[in-house]
């Protein structure tokens, strides 16, 4: 589309529905990726129900809840950015995107404090403190770090994507009548939210 240096004939082909379909198919791969980890979680929780409860006590439910609300709200601002653009309110759309990125940063900062609290208690992958715990607890924390870590990685990727979208809107590459990129970016961000919706009760709310 933006390749101007191609020798003429390469036909311009715009298919918004196709683009969205491609994005959804990609999201399925993400769902299956996390699905695999949820399978590991399910099996180990089934094998060590009591130890999972014990280990989960170490997690900070308040921080988890706060982050859930932050992420849900960022999903709202993301979708509002699309509506704003549809209504040709470019500035408002940019504002909502900026707010979304802001929420993502808040999420990451809270996550940082959460992880560093664990680290200061000597709980980190491969630590002596952790390896002295019982097997079920080791597995719980292994999964906790891997799953929330991978989720955090997706948050970071999401921020980068939204930043690009911001620039594209600013430069009018995404406009009120051609915004499938914004929609696709939004879909990705909602997926990040979707995964957290399941991570949250499975790690923070076992009592």
């Amino acid at each position: 589309m933006s390749q101007s240096n191609t020798t003429a004939v390469h036909h311009v082909h715009r298919d918004d529905l196709g683009a969205k379909m491609g994005m959804w198919v990609f999201l399925f791969t993400e769902v299956l990726l996390f699905g695999g980890m949820f399978l590991v979680y399910a099996v180990y929780r089934f094998q060590h129900p009591e130890l999972f409860k014990l280990a989960a006590l170490e997690l900070n439910t308040a921080m988890g809840t706060f982050n859930t609300i932050v992420l849900l709200t960022s999903s709202l601002t993301m979708v509002l950015a699309i509506v704003a653009l549809q209504k040709m309110h470019k500035k408002l759309s940019l504002f909502y995107l900026a707010v979304t990125i802001g929420f993502a940063f808040v999420f990451m900062v809270v996550k940082y404090f959460e992880w560093s609290a664990k680290f200061s208690h000597g709980i980190y992958p491969g630590s002596e403190e952790l390896l002295n715990k019982q097997n079920g607890e080791i597995l719980f924390f292994g999964l906790y770090f891997v799953m929330t870590g991978l989720h955090a990685l997706h948050v970071i990727i999401g921020v980068v994507i939204i930043a690009f979208l911001y620039v594209f809107i600013k430069r009018d590459k995404i406009t009120h009548d051609n915004y499938v990129k914004l929609e696709n970016g939004g879909l990705y961000w909602h997926l990040v939210d979707l995964i957290w919706i399941f991570l949250f009760p499975l790690f923070y709310l076992i009592h």
Binding site: T7, M21, L32, I138, V146
Partner: protein
């Protein structure tokens, strides 16, 4: 479609590219044209195929006589791992979809390109990067990987050889596979020519569609499994290591949740090619179009339900052993539907035994042996007897090499004139098919016998009583390698100085035969509208083709 016959001398995709200049390496490496990308895959995959084949020959050389022949146990472990990794991840999984799918899917749909041409190029690049990582891993500290291509834990977590890098390479290659699948799904849904509804699509497209879904839905599971092993190795997180409470059988589940459907990624496109070649050379419409199309989807679906038949001796529960054994038998049904329909297509057809057809005959024979021995392995009791023996190795090679591998050559001989606009030496090609068949059975059939007698797989040494059959198999490997070189030479010479091919040398009727050879950059000179069933040979009267 009648007017599509007029073939003006328009520029082919070799003469006109999507980059500034149409010549030189850059015009290939940065091309978004699906045909050029298909050919790039062809070159790269062929190169890796020969490397993998060479490793195979070396393994056979070691096994020529009992005891240490040319290498020790550790080298042998490395060799069979690399043979597996290269052949599976670099050759047979991408093989048909990436080469022929890329080249012919848009052509058969009457489209100008795939849905996302730049993503298509990216998939190629990711494939290239992944394959380079595999090569790099050979030279890493600790020595090349020795886990076998299945990477079973706990050994893969504990061994000191370089495991993380090749695992990461497999992850990267999986990503390439996913993107190709994604591209094909959207292409099939969105890029069909006017008039081509789903039931006018050629069967190769149907099988590619089913394959694409497996690529998209199954690959992420192995992706995460691989990542978990890498993380476990790097950070000492407890996930699969039993010493930390992990469950190695769970790893096997997750590995096979992908890797069993993956064998359908390998075989389904091959079945699609067979469904193309048989009608063309029988001059007869395919028997049971809808059942064949649906059986592709059925295979893809049922393929998800059978993975644990790889684990009958792993110590999983008896309940699941019974369930998975039962489900395994169900896969045989749609495969059988295909074979019967192919045979029925040939019945009373006007058969023209050209090389592609002869290769397909070879396929039907080899694949049937492979498939039927699969049923032996699918039943728990028989499996326990032959599990982890040469019987499994032989079954696997009959299905994958005898099935998919054979069809890679059949597809090559079928579509070569379309891809390059040149014709190869037909007699030579037929001789190759014959020698291939002989070499194949000499190489692999003795393994069924040895396996049944208890020769375990993955051993570099064996008891003297196996010496004769091992020797026979090794001789087969030399024959096979010679045949492969001969195939390559025939095709290479044809590219270099073959005579110009007719644009429809076989009398095919699917859309790729409606355009010139090699096709122009945008595939067709005219707008395509479809008003025929895919294998309606009454069109041939209107189509210009080379008659016998």
């Amino acid at each position: 479609m009648a007017d599509a016959n007029a073939h003006v001398a328009s520029k082919s995709f070799f003469e006109e590219g999507t980059t500034k200049s149409s010549k030189g390496i850059r015009s290939w490496l940065f091309s978004t044209d699906h045909k050029r990308i298909g050919l790039m895959y062809l070159v790269t995959i062929t190169a890796f195929f020969f490397v993998g084949a060479l490793f195979g020959v070396l393994m056979r050389l070691e096994l020529m006589s009992p005891g240490e022949t040319i290498m020790g146990a550790q080298e042998y472990n490395t060799l069979f791992t690399l043979h597996g990794v290269i052949m599976i991840f670099l050759f047979i999984i991408p093989g048909i979809p990436a080469i022929f799918g890329n080249f012919f899917l848009p052509l058969q749909l009457g489209a100008k390109d795939v849905a996302f041409p730049r993503l298509n190029l990216l998939s190629y690049w990711i494939y290239l990067i992944g394959s380079i990582l595999v090569i790099l891993s050979l030279f890493m500290q600790g020595g090349p990987i020795d886990t076998g291509w299945t990477f079973y834990v706990p050994y893969s977590v504990r061994t000191t050889t370089s495991v993380s890098l090749p695992l990461f390479a497999a992850f990267v290659l999986g990503f390439s596979s996913i993107l190709t699948g994604l591209n094909f799904i959207v292409t099939i849904h969105r890029m069909r020519a006017p008039g081509m509804n789903f039931f006018r699509m050629p069967l190769f497209v149907w099988s590619t569609y089913a394959t694409a879904w497996i690529q998209v839905i199954a690959t992420p599971v192995v992706g995460i499994t691989i990542l978990l092993v890498i993380i476990e190795r790097s950070f000492g997180v407890g996930i699969f290591d039993p010493a930390l409470g992990g469950d190695p059988i769970l790893f096997q589940h997750m590995f096979w949740i992908y890797s069993h459907p993956a064998v359908y990624i390998m075989i389904l496109p091959a079945m699609g090619v067979v469904s193309e070649i048989i009608p063309t050379f029988s001059r007869r419409t395919i028997f049971g179009y809808t059942p064949i199309a649906m059986s592709s989807l059925a295979i893809a679906f049922v393929g998800y339900l059978v993975w644990a038949h790889h684990m009958f001796t792993s110590g999983m529960s008896d309940t699941s052993r019974v369930i998975f054994s039962l489900l395994t038998y169900i896969v045989a049904l749609p495969s059988g539907v295909k074979v019967f329909n192919w045979v029925a297509t040939m019945y009373k057809g006007s058969i023209d035994p050209k090389p592609p057809f002869n290769w397909v005959m070879s396929f039907v024979f080899l694949f049937s042996i492979g498939g039927l021995t699969g049923l032996v392995l699918g039943s728990i009791t028989a499996d326990i007897h032959v599990h982890d023996t040469y019987f499994v190795v032989s079954h696997f090679h009959y299905v994958m090499f005898g099935g998919t591998g054979t069809i890679v050559f059949a597809a090559m001989y079928y579509w070569f004139p379309k891809m390059f606009g040149k014709m190869y030496n037909i007699k030579w090609a037929n001789l190759n098919a014959l020698f291939y068949f002989i070499a194949f059975n000499t190489l692999y059939f003795p393994k069924f016998i040895m396996g049944y007698q208890g020769m375990p797989r993955r051993y570099y040494d064996y008891l003297p009583e196996f010496a004769d059959l091992q020797m026979l198999s090794t001789i087969g490997s030399w024959l096979m390698f010679a045949t492969l070189v001969s195939i390559f030479l025939n095709l290479y010479l044809a590219v270099k100085k073959g005579k110009k091919a007719h644009h429809n040398p076989w009398g095919g009727v699917t859309l790729e035969w409606h355009t010139s050879s090699p096709p122009p950059l945008l595939n067709f000179d005219k707008e395509i509208t479809v008003n025929h069933e895919p294998y309606d040979f009454s069109q041939l009267k209107e189509l210009d083709y080379e008659s016998k």
